[in-house]
C-alpha cells in the first residue's frame, strides 16, 4: 500500500517536470515552425513579385475576412415542417404488443405542422475541450436540450471522451439527428424500444484501435432516467452501454460498417396507460431490469466512390429487448402486483438510391416481433389477457417509400408514403410532405 502511494506521489511530482520538458519541446517545434513558414512566406512574396512583374493578369489576394466575431462558435439552424394526410387518427397511435413509451411515438398531428427547429452551436473551448449544443424548439414554443456535451480527444491515443447530454452510440441511426434521417420518421424499433431516440446524461468513452481496419469500442454510463429506464433518485448511474464497430472499404466503390451494442438499465414504477377487460382506463407500472442487444450494418456504394451523381446506401438494424421484473396492474385502484417477463425484438432494413444528382428514392421495411410476454396476474388467474389489451400479441410492421429532392446539400424536400400496421385493428395509410432546410455553418455528414 505504502509502495503504491509513494509510486503515485513520485509520478505526481514528476508530472510538472515532464510537462516542462514537453513544453520546451513544443516551444522548439513552434519556433522551428514559425521559422519555416516565415522563410516560405518571404520566398512566396518574392516569387509573387516576380510573377506580378511578368504577368499582366491581376492576382487578387486578400486575407479572409476577420472581425470581432472571428472567435464566435459555429452556428447552424435547421428549419423543418411536414404536411401529413393520415387515414387513422394520430391521437390514438399505438405500437400494439409493446409496453408504450412515455414519450410520444407515431406521427404528429394531421395537416401542415411546423416541426422542430433545431439550433446547433459548437466550438473549441480551449486547446483541450470542445463543446457542442443542440436545442430543439417545438411549434408550441417549448424548447428541449437535445445535446449539450463536452468532448476531449486524446486522453490516450485514439480515445475520445464525451460528457454531458448526448445521443447514445447504441446502433447506427440513434446518433443521427432527425434532420439527417433518410425518412421523415424514426424506425419502429427506435420508437418502440427507445421512445424515439436514446439520449444519455452521462459519460461516453470511445477508443479507436491503431489498425488500418476500422475497429472502435465504446462505453457509456449515465442517468438513464428516460424510457426504457426511469428516474431513480439514486447516487449511482442507472444505465450502462457498450458498443463495438468494425468498418472498411470493399474496393474503391463501396464501404461498410458493422456494429453491435448492448445497454442495460433499470426502471422503477414506469407507468403507462391501458384499459381493463371492461374498458375502464388503468394505469399500470413496470419495475425491473431492461436489457437491450443490437446489431447494425451500413453499406454504401457509389461508382468509383464518387457519390455526386449516383449512390446507394443500405442500412439495417436488429434490436432485442428483455424486460424482467414486476408489473402493478391499476396502480390507483386494485393495485394487483405480478411478475413481468418479456422477450421482444424488431428490425428494419432500408435502401436509399440517388438515381441522378439531387434526386433520391428510398424504401424501408419495419417489423416488430412481440415475442413472449409473461404476466404473473394472468398466470395466477387473477386477471385475463383482455385486461392488458396493449400487450395482446401483435407483430407490427410498416412499409415506407420516399422520394426526395435536394436543390443543394442545405435544402431538402421530401414526399413519403407509408402503410403502417403498428395498431392491431387499423392499417394506417400515411402521406407526408416535408421540408428540411439548414442555415449557417456547414455541417459534416456522418458515415
Amino acid at each position: 500500500m505504502k509502495r503504491v502511494s509513494s509510486v503515485a506521489l513520485a509520478t505526481l511530482l514528476q508530472l510538472p517536470l515532464g510537462v516542462a520538458a514537453d513544453e520546451a519541446d513544443e516551444l522548439r517545434a513552434e519556433i522551428a515552425l514559425l521559422k519555416a513558414d516565415y522563410t516560405a512566406r518571404i520566398e512566396q512574396l518574392e516569387s509573387r513579385l516576380t510573377a506580378m512583374e511578368s504577368a499582366t493578369g491581376a492576382a487578387a489576394s486578400t486575407p479572409p475576412p476577420r472581425g470581432n466575431n472571428a472567435l464566435n462558435p459555429a452556428i447552424s439552424l435547421i428549419l423543418e415542417g411536414t404536411y401529413r394526410a393520415l387515414d387513422a387518427n394520430p391521437d390514438n397511435y399505438r405500437i400494439d404488443g409493446f409496453v408504450p413509451a412515455e414519450e410520444a411515438v407515431g406521427p404528429e398531428a394531421r395537416s401542415a405542422t411546423l416541426g422542430e427547429s433545431e439550433l446547433t452551436i459548437s466550438a473549441n473551448i480551449d486547446p483541450y475541450f470542445s463543446g457542442y449544443f443542440v436545442a430543439a424548439f417545438d411549434a408550441e414554443g417549448g424548447a428541449e436540450v437535445e445535446e449539450a456535451n463536452i468532448t476531449h480527444v486524446g486522453l490516450v491515443p485514439g480515445a475520445t471522451t464525451k460528457f454531458g447530454r448526448f445521443l447514445s452510440g447504441f446502433g447506427y441511426q440513434n446518433e443521427i439527428h432527425a434532420h439527417a434521417w433518410d425518412f421523415v420518421d424514426a424506425p419502429l424499433v427506435h420508437q418502440a424500444f427507445f421512445g424515439g431516440a436514446l439520449s444519455e446524461d452521462g459519460l461516453q468513452v470511445r477508443w479507436l484501435a491503431p489498425t488500418s481496419l476500422f475497429l472502435e469500442f465504446g462505453l457509456e454510463t449515465g442517468l438513464g432516467d428516460r424510457f426504457p429506464g426511469s428516474a431513480r433518485n439514486r447516487n449511482r448511474p442507472n444505465s450502462f452501454a457498450a458498443f463495438a464497430h468494425l468498418g472498411g472499404d470493399l474496393g474503391v466503390s463501396s464501404s461498410y460498417r458493422f456494429g453491435t451494442s448492448y445497454r442495460a438499465t433499470n426502471a422503477f414504477d414506469r407507468a403507462y396507460l391501458d384499459q381493463d377487460a371492461v374498458g375502464e382506463e388503468t394505469v399500470n407500472a413496470f419495475t425491473g431490469d431492461v436489457r437491450q442487444w443490437g446489431v447494425d450494418a451500413v453499406w454504401k456504394w457509389a461508382p468509383n466512390g464518387n457519390s455526386g451523381v449516383t449512390n446507394l446506401k443500405l442500412q439495417a438494424e436488429y434490436i432485442r429487448v428483455e424486460s424482467d421484473g414486476s408489473l402493478v396492474f391499476d396502480v390507483d385502484g386494485r393495485a394487483i402486483d405480478g411478475e413481468f417477463e418479456a422477450d421482444q425484438s424488431g428490425w428494419y432494413a432500408q435502401a436509399v438510391y440517388q438515381f441522378m444528382p439531387r434526386w433520391r428514392v428510398g424504401l424501408r421495411y419495419d417489423h416488430l416481433d412481440a415475442g413472449s410476454v409473461r404476466l404473473g396476474q394472468i398466470g395466477s388467474g387473477q386477471l385475463a389477457a383482455a385486461d392488458f389489451p396493449v400487450l395482446l400479441d401483435h407483430d407490427p410492421s410498416r412499409v415506407t417509400l420516399m422520394f426526395d429532392f435536394s436543390a443543394t446539400e442545405f435544402s431538402r424536400l421530401r414526399l413519403q408514403l407509408a402503410e403502417d400496421r403498428a395498431r392491431r385493428d387499423t392499417d394506417d395509410t400515411q402521406v407526408m410532405l416535408q421540408y428540411v432546410m439548414s442555415l449557417g455553418s456547414h455541417g459534416a455528414h456522418k458515415f
Binding site: 516560405a40 489576394s61 479572409p64 491515443p157 472498411g248 468509383n304 466512390g305 455526386g308 446539400e409
Partner: protein, 308 residues
Amino acid sequence: MQTHMKISTSLIASAWLLAAPANGAVKVFACEPEWANLVELTAGDLASVYQASTAMQDPHRIEARPSLIAQMRRAQLVICTGADLEVGWLPLLMQSAGNRDVYAGSPRFIAAAELVSRLEVPTTVDRAAGDIHPGGNPHVHLDPHKLAEIAQAVAERLAIIDAANAEEYRARYAAFAQSWRDAIAGWETKAQPLRGMRIVPYHKDTVYLAHWLGLVEVMNIEPKPGLPPSAAHLAGLVDLLVAAPVDAVTRSAYQDPKPMNWLRAQTGVPTVELPYTVGGAPDVDDLYALFDVTIDRLLEARGRHDGD
C-alpha cells in the same frame, strides 16, 4: 468459444501487423492525390503516404468512411487542401479519429492552399451565391508555382517532425525544386499558344490553371458553384455558346460528363476532359504527367478549333 477467441485474437493480430509501418517512414495522410504525390516527389521513401481520395472523386464530397477514420488515427502528418474545401468531411475524420497530434495548428497538419495566396477571395459570403469558400478558391494545385511553394513548406514540416532526417528532406526538396523549375519552364514555353484561349469549365476548379497559362474563363457549366446544371440552364448555355463561341468546354475527371457531352452535341464546341489531378487520366501517374497531359489536351482542342 475457444475457436471464437482464437479467431478474434488472430484477427486483431493481423490488423496490428497491417498497421505496422513498412519502415521508419513518416505516416502521411493526404486528403487529395495531388498532395499525396507532392509528398512522394519531395520525401520519397522517407514518407509512407495514404491517399484518402482519388481523381475520380469530388474532393468537396468525400464520405467520412470508417477506413479514412482508421487511417487518420495512425497519421503522423496530415496534408489537405484546406480553405474549406474539405469542410464536409475532414472535421468528422478529425473528431472521430482521436488523434489530436494532427489537429489544425500543429506542425503535423498542413492546409496546403492556406500557405499560398488565393484567387477569388469573396468580399461577402452568402449561400445564395452557391457553395462559396470564404477563404478563396481552394483548387490551388493547378498552378505549378504554387505547388513549388507548398513543396518547400512540406519539406520544412517533415524536417521538423522527423528531425533526424531534416537534412535529407531539404536535399530531396532541393533536387525536386530544380527539376520542377525546369519542368515549369518547359510547360510555359509549350503552352504559349494557349494564351487567350476561351474556355468554359464545369466548376471553378481550373481558375489557377487559367491564371497561370493566361486562359480566359468565360463562364462555368454550373450555374453557381456546387449546383449541378438543370436542363433549362444548359439550354441557356447553348444560346450563349452559339452567340459567342468559345475554344473549349472542359470538365475535370470527377465531374458528370453528361452536361459537357450534351453541349458538344448541341453546338459542336470542342470539349476537353482535364485530368484535374494525379490519376485523372490513364497516363497521369504523377504531377509532372498531370501538367504534360493537361497542356497537351488543351493544345489539341485549340488546334482542332483553329483548324475548323
